[in-house]
Point group: D2
Chain length 406, copies 4
């Protein structure tokens, strides 16, 4: 395992950092505050993208810092998962930064799906505008009425009727559903109950303006609507799309989902690591600049011990994630499944603890919007459930361990 950054990666790290220094950090607080004011509640139909976002995207595109996540050398920058990882870390320091580089979830995952599994028609119709950052997309997997941690519980259905696919079911926690530019969702549903467990589901691309789709509401995750992107609940009733919208084939949903999740978790985890670094940085700055009982806060009681624990936890989380990235690149997603589950468990927990420490150092300021810490905390907590609860992923890790002894 070589975690060394190649010259190419080092160059990109420098360029992403420089871009953030020049263009993003100077407007970070402004965009946080104004986005919040522009989108005060759950009234998603009126949500607006901050006016600085599109110009920033344009700048990133012009700077050649665009679609960095995509391994393709033409459509992306030809970076491996391991090479892209430190760039995702940099982006994770600012809540909206990955979007500026067209590297934000769930679009990245959807683009990967279309890139790897879409046919020419699908790529032209949907991958192209996604890669251009012109539209945004949604991924519909989790359902409100069942425990979605067990995918076999899925109730949504897709049936072939002549040349059309008929879709029914409810999805929620569909990320990005509230975004003004959200145009399509990938919809996963039961199609072939007669097949074996991992060949029963299919994935279909569904334009969001198709009749029969009702967006019920946006959901707050720990008080955060994450506007103007949002996590929504949508109900599909006899929604009809042409069968050309089917990805790969009936019953291939699981196979596609597997491939999609691997790199996506690396991205999530590396962003979380960047986020943790930012939280630690904020903690240090606050802890050195405010005093109580005659000393900087940071020098009181167990605070320095907690800083050390944070530093150690961040280092371990980064190494584990880089190892998983390396395995994806070198052994394939399938042979990295356990590693991908392992980081899914370890990294959000680390982030939660580091952010919690940072909030405690900040006192009341840490709880409100004067700092991004409360949103970091909400995000970290949500990640312990997103893509399956930690417990399910621990089960995955344990299963492999058990295999050695059976």
């Amino acid at each position: 395992m070589d975690f060394n950054h190649s010259q190419k990666t080092l160059g990109y790290i420098e360029r992403v950092k420089a871009f953030m220094d020049e263009h993003i950090y100077p407007v970070e607080e402004q965009i946080y505050a104004e986005t919040h004011k522009l989108n005060p509640g759950g009234d998603w139909k009126n949500w607006q993208v901050h006016p600085l976002i599109e110009p920033l995207k344009k700048k990133a595109q012009d700077a050649g810092l665009w679609n960095l996540f995509l391994p393709d050398t033409k459509l992306g920058k030809g970076l491996t998962t391991l090479e892209y990882a430190p760039l995702a870390e940099q982006m994770g320091r600012v809540l909206f930064a990955s979007e500026i580089f067209n590297c934000n979830a769930p679009d990245t995952g959807n683009m990967e799906v279309l890139y790897h599994f879409g046919n020419e028609f699908q790529q032209k119709k949907w991958l192209k505008p996604l890669l251009a950052g012109e539209i945004r997309s949604v991924f519909g997997m989790t359902e409100p009425d069942v425990a979605s941690s067990d995918a076999t519980n899925m109730q949504a259905t897709v049936e072939l009727d002549g040349n059309e696919l008929v879709l029914n079911g409810k999805k929620w926690w569909s990320t990005g559903l509230g975004h003004p530019n959200a145009k399509i969702t990938i919809f996963m549903a039961l199609s072939n109950p007669e097949n074996d467990k991992h060949s029963q589901h299919s994935m279909v691309v569904v334009p969001l303006d198709t009749p029969g789709i009702e967006i019920k509401r946006m959901l707050q995750a720990f008080g955060d609507y994450d506007a103007p992107s949002g996590h929504g609940e949508m109900h599909l009733t006899n929604v009809r799309v042409p069968k050309e919208n089917l990805l790969v084939g009936m019953g291939k949903g699981f196979a596609i989902a597997q491939g999609r999740l691997g790199p996506g978790r690396i991205h999530h985890c590396m962003r979380s690591i960047g986020c943790a670094e930012k939280a630690l940085e904020l903690a240090m700055q606050r802890g050195m600049s405010r005093s109580a009982f005659g000393k900087p806060l940071m020098m009181l009681g167990g605070n320095r011990e907690r800083v050390a624990e944070a530093r150690i936890a961040i280092e371990q989380a980064r190494l584990l994630t880089l190892q998983a990235a390396w395995k994806i690149d070198n052994l394939g997603v399938k042979n990295a499944m356990v590693d991908i589950s392992a980081i899914k468990v370890a990294v959000p927990k680390m982030l939660e603890e580091v952010v919690d420490m940072a909030i405690q150092i900040h006192g009341g300021a840490g709880m409100c919007d004067d700092f991004p810490l409360a949103r970091f905390a909400a995000g970290a907590r949500a990640l312990r459930l997103a893509d399956g609860p930690d417990e399910v992923h621990k089960g995955m890790v344990a299963r492999l361990e058990l295999k050695k002894y059976q």
Copy 2:
């Protein structure tokens, strides 16, 4: 220590439970949802109290379940801290319930201050309408520009100028400041820097419509404005009030604060225990009613172990709090300071862990407003900072321990 509930207490527990069964639980979800819709963001000038609240308050008053927290037999119900404790626990199960019984913070603390330390004029003018539930009040202690965990950092000032007190300074996290009925704040400030450390501050009652008071904004605590009550930031610039508004005397602020905090922490902690019981109840219901991998969620993996840990933690927290209440009643607040610090540390941490477990069992539903769990989590986390960060209270507990060996 006798933690047995007296017949009187048992009677009140029954009555509070019956009232909640009949009047509060049936509208719990409705009030949560509609209050949220009525008060969508931080625009506190337009915040509204849910129309069911005042009628419910009237009903509680008629039922003799009013001002239960106040030990006075005439103005309250003559309940000791220990006797009131289990009633606070019941109220803690619903976010708005304590208000219905006129037992909500910070009004309870302010009423206690006025009851114990207010003169006849002050009691008539402010205690009376507070006890009647006609007005609401605010407590201004924490400041935005310094580490308020060290009270000697306080920058706000109060000076005597003829017959008037002149107030200057900024306060934030002033609970209840956004409420339409909030009419006064108790304001704590530096008045006598020449005195010894615990005699430098004074407390003044300040009507919120006094010129020079500017309410800057309401603060979100972990995404929650807690509307229509809220936690606000106010700036006082040369605010003048008659010297009759001074509580007790110049330099008496700390002595008053000490007395105020003791029972208030019992209330907070008992409500937290009720809140934890509710969270555990929700976890059990969800965990038994949803299934994955062929079993109710609750029967999977380590879930039952976590339920047991929650039950044990709740029991221990309740006993520790009852012990502190007993000591306040029997040994006085001053001799219970360590116990009061101890519950300040132990109970919010317990609540945080129980709620976290409940959220995990709920999956995505636990993060959004379909259940009160996300708000419970926000409240629990905030309590680790409110009234001083845990670390300061651990310092108090350690100090007493150290004394034994010095």
Copy 3:
């Protein structure tokens, strides 16, 4: 629940404290050191009781501080479980103190069994000398070849053959087996496999010199033989005892075991609390008397926070145990089963953490025999397995919680 100590209890606490001050603490270190030297390894046949022990027992008997655990007013002192609890706490401060007062496990449990379930013959023959402190006894339950956390796994058998009971099987972790005065064991075994799950086992009193009993070895628990008492492994091969040695009747083993365990766990837990107090005391003394980096150790980094956490944990553990004791006394063992499981989980964990903190403050000295801390640590860890692993007891607590929702 009234946890107040009665005048009677207060008197006994004073007397036990005074006895320990006068007679036990002055020889504590000497007895630790010399007992260790007298009994250097696992060669149990040569184990010797320290010569000061018997005289100390005599003194305690003369002082009326004897058999304090037994609720009987004639044979014991008529103390309830709750009244005895604080005395056990005092005894727990010194590893051998409970023996001085004839209040040591497993004799207490065995005396309780004989007291509650023994017939006149059995009481005269075995209870009398045990109460006199003339002999010691053993309890044979756990088995080496199966997971004994599930009692239905038990492989030892007892069969009626004419007027004799024939016993076969292996037991280990039989506490006290190495003691020179150990004369009998209570032996639990499968007798009635045809019965329902809780009526299949029987308990028999077996003199240790009966032919067919082989004591295989004494077991170290984390490097500690606990000489000269010890935990042993014994194999019984066609051991024959008269059927008069059967307790209550065939198939009554479980019922007896249930009754035995309740008060015994209170004793264990209260001793653990005394042990934790002693560990905290040692930590404070060491932490205040040694310095590094210019300060007493106790004033460095997070040490005071850890002291506060220890104090809070001890208080909570004590209250939970007193509550369980109160329930045993007032509601019966059966209705206190969950509470008894709860303290089994909570108290050893608390002890482990407090002792671990104390060891860390002591540095190298905490690991070796200069202080009793390493043995406290071994004992605490063992308690997480003794009487069933924590996980089984969490299962008990969860089961009751689940019942409320089924």
Copy 4:
């Protein structure tokens, strides 16, 4: 950072594994049991090395698996710290294995000191027989009468008197002092109090048979004498050695100590990781082979979650240690100090938790000598104090973090 094992390393891993498979594992249990019987207590003067040890050493030497730790290509095998790391991991699986390969502490550290800092005379006299495995050595640093976590507390002295050095002072926790072959100790003491803090101490090689050295006793660490090597207390009274025995020069003790500790901690940590792997392996085997409540133990409750947590923790610990090794090799020990402190904190804690889990799965068997788990636990706990308590190392990590903000 390239953690990839070179072909050379891969070859050595295979050979070490094969050697252990063929020669060590088959006698592992036998040597554990018989060594324990040979050396029943603290009577170190009669301690004996198990008769199989020397023949095994000879075999390892013949197999070219000797002094693998030493980077020198002639005296050792020319392996870098990173290359040696996985070999140390393999050795860590068996308590006595590192000795077989002449890679055991504290001899490795002492050999490194003599290799890097010894002059020709010193190397010929002491390094040579150490490299040959003919003698063993001791390192005298920690002192009984002061908090040795602060090295400036050190009370032992060394003074130049003509051509002799005069040594006085007490040392304890001197590892290997009880070994029959222990012939020398490196002794660190205050020599130049007038110098700046890091130039006040010197290191001297002292033959253990020099008059004035009294070995007071061997110390148990959590019940384990670690015979026949042991950790001892020695008192030096006017011990005189020729000044040729001084390492480097007066006042150079700290500089030598720094260099010594880096690779040593990598070795310790990698052995700990091997030890954790072994503990997890034992847990899996026991957990799959014993059943309760109708299932293998491993399938009950939260056990699989704990296995997953163990696996994740081991992976993270290994990566962090490999990173530190890589930094030592590529950036120098000085630039890896924080990393070395970080693994000192993270790895023993990980080991403690993994071993604790394994013990819990084993039940009573985990506590006694039937498995090496209790000794693993003692070792893990000791490592949280050895080479400085965790708190001091957290301070190191925090200091570097603070530097970034000062």
